[in-house]
């Protein structure tokens, strides 16, 4: 059936499709190539050393990993319960017209560019955190080491709050789709056994959609790990390990944004490539896991923009 131009056409669109796979492979290759010198130089010590000092050509990524993980976890702690709450509201409680209004409004949060979140963070969120938010937290929860220390405004906590706002729409949209994919027979069965509305949601809907909800959280985590501009603008950019949430810190993405254009030494640039490679591999793994968990419940879904 296919001849001449048709074959050429199929080959062309095939190439376009393969470019999607090619880009991912090329990324791994280029980043690995760039990261090779530092990995040959420092080995595993690169991940466990806690001093990052470009001036002395000493590169240990531990403080940066610490900042990345802590800011992302903080964002998840804030965003996941909120996201689930909204998803339950949208999928189970809201009337159809309200769902059509609120859903897109929450998704608009994802459309705001990262740099604008950063701008807002610098001029609105940080002054507020410094003057009223953090002092209150220190007074109330100061018995925990996490909530001690001076309230700078900038720091891990501000980054976590902004990240939470930024990943909220992704967690919400995905968990809503997971909840909507729960078969109605599940709900009916629970109701028939005499469950109240809330018990029905808890027993029949949330438990059924467990893995999908976890997948949504993982996808949010992947996004939080890689978010760059907003974090760079509010986190303080100091690669230290401190117990306090209010201290300035550094994440993988913000480190790259700060130092990459100015890196001059061979080893410095290679260390930054290694951080990029690590970020790439970690987000790749988390996203792949998340996709598998969500796809099991929601077979076909448009990708979250």
């Amino acid at each position: 059936m296919f001849r001449g131009t048709d074959r050429l056409f199929i080959r062309l669109i095939g190439c376009a499709a393969l470019s999607a796979i090619g880009v991912q492979l090329a990324m791994a290759l280029f980043l690995g190539h760039g990261a090779f010198p530092i990995l040959a130089h420092a080995g595993w010590g690169f991940l466990t050393d806690s001093v990052w000092n470009p001036v002395l050509d000493h590169f240990g990524a531990l403080p940066i990993l610490y900042g990345t993980v802590l800011s992302a976890l903080l964002a998840l702690c804030l965003a996941a319960p909120l996201g689930f709450g909204i998803a339950i509201f949208l999928a189970e409680l809201a009337p159809r017209w309200l769902r059509a209004v609120v859903g897109p409004l929450v998704e608009l949060l994802a459309a705001i560019p990262s740099v604008i979140y950063g701008l807002w963070g610098i001029f609105v969120l940080i002054p507020w955190l410094r003057d009223s938010g953090e002092p209150h937290l220190i007074r109330a929860l100061g018995f925990l080491p996490l909530f001690r220390g001076p309230a700078y405004g900038i720091g891990l906590f501000a980054a976590g709050v902004i990240l939470a706002i930024m990943i909220l729409p992704i967690i919400t949209a995905l968990s809503r789709d997971v909840l909507l994919a729960v078969p109605n027979t599940q709900r009916e069965a629970a109701l028939a056994l005499g469950a109240t509305r809330w018990e029905m949601i808890r027993i029949a809907v949330l438990r059924y959609g467990r893995s999908g909800l976890l997948g949504a959280v993982f996808l949010g985590l992947g996004r939080a790990l890689g978010e760059t501009m907003a974090v760079t603008m509010v986190i303080g950019n100091r690669p230290d390990i401190t117990a306090s949430l209010f201290a300035p810190a550094q994440t993988m993405a913000s480190l790259l944004a700060n130092e990459f254009a100015e890196a001059t030494g061979e080893l410095h640039r290679s260390a930054l490539f290694a951080v990029g490679l690590l970020l790439f591999v970690v987000t790749l793994g988390i996203n792949a896991l998340a996709r598998v968990m969500v796809h099991r419940l929601v077979p076909q879904r448009r990708s979250v923009a």
């Binding site: 669109i13 701008l119 501009m229 990459f260």
Partner: protein, 270 residues
């Protein structure tokens, strides 16, 4: 518990409200015609605008669209052509992973690919980086939209003896046109605000710049530079630039959502 869920929803809408009102309030002051027509002035002189950044962003978006749209639509056509083969599944998976890859990682990749080979920062490199971010977004929406075109349309066209490539391009693509255009516009809105990959590909430029082979100015980069600067005049311009950027992004988002109500019905209960 029900109240709790309603509360969550209200809390989520607070930041949206806060950010948009603050942007309008603080950005309005410097939101003058000069913002779009004048060049940045040196520190200490008042006035000036971000015209170079608007032009630069436009050029970079054009470059990105030139890469992202053909590759995305081509890939989408391929997935519609070979629906459920193993290769199609891999392409789909790779596209999903690419849309989850942090944009700064894409930036480093393009730096290694393009900036080191050319020897200097350039608008072209920025366009490539944004184009790569655009591909999976266009690809997935194209595929979804082509999936909605009934088999009969394709079969009917083939039965008329039209070559397969014309069936796909003139009949099937055209039937899905409005949805694909929506996807393209949304992906443009998405990359218009991307800053991280531009930091070390495009670099930014405080003067008029039209040559894509040289460093170009870009709106998000200029907002970033101005926002972290200590000068009040620059900070005001950052707010005004942000207002212009978010106006563009939200207009595209809301406009396409209202014009083509495809996305809101997709998540409804069956």
């Amino acid at each position: 518990m029900i109240l709790c869920c309603v509360g969550c929803t209200l809390i989520a809408l607070v930041p949206l409200l806060l950010i948009t009102t603050q942007l309008v309030q603080r950005g309005w002051e410097a939101f003058t015609p000069a913002l779009f027509t004048a060049l940045p002035r040196p520190v200490g002189e008042s006035g000036g605008g971000m015209a170079n950044a608007f032009v630069g962003s436009g050029l970079i978006l054009l470059l990105a669209a030139g890469i992202g749209i053909p590759l995305g639509i081509g890939g989408g056509l391929f997935l519609a052509h070979t629906r459920s083969t193993r290769l199609a599944a891999w392409v789909r998976f790779a596209a999903d992973l690419q849309s989850g890859t942090p944009s700064i990682v894409t930036g480093i990749f393009v730096y290694a690919l393009c900036v080191t080979t050319l020897g200097h920062f350039s608008g072209l490199a920025g366009g490539i980086a944004l184009g790569l971010i655009m591909i999976p977004l266009v690809l997935r929406t194209t595929e979804e939209m082509l999936r909605l075109v009934p088999r009969e349309v394709r079969e009917g066209a083939i039965a008329l003896g039209i070559p397969y490539w014309r069936v796909m391009c003139s009949v099937v693509l055209r039937a899905a046109r409005s949805g694909i255009v929506t996807g393209i516009l949304l992906s443009l809105a998405r990359i218009a605000g991307e800053t991280a990959p531009l930091l070390f590909t495009t670099l930014g430029n405080p003067n008029w710049s039209f040559d894509p082979l040289q460093p170009l100015a870009a709106l998000p980069l200029q907002i970033f530079t101005y926002a972290i600067s200590p000068f009040a005049a620059w900070q005001r311009q950052a707010w005004a630039g942000a207002l212009a950027l978010i106006g563009f992004v939200l207009l595209l988002n809301l406009g396409t959502r209202i014009c083509f109500r495809t996305s809101s019905s997709a998540g409804d209960k069956p």
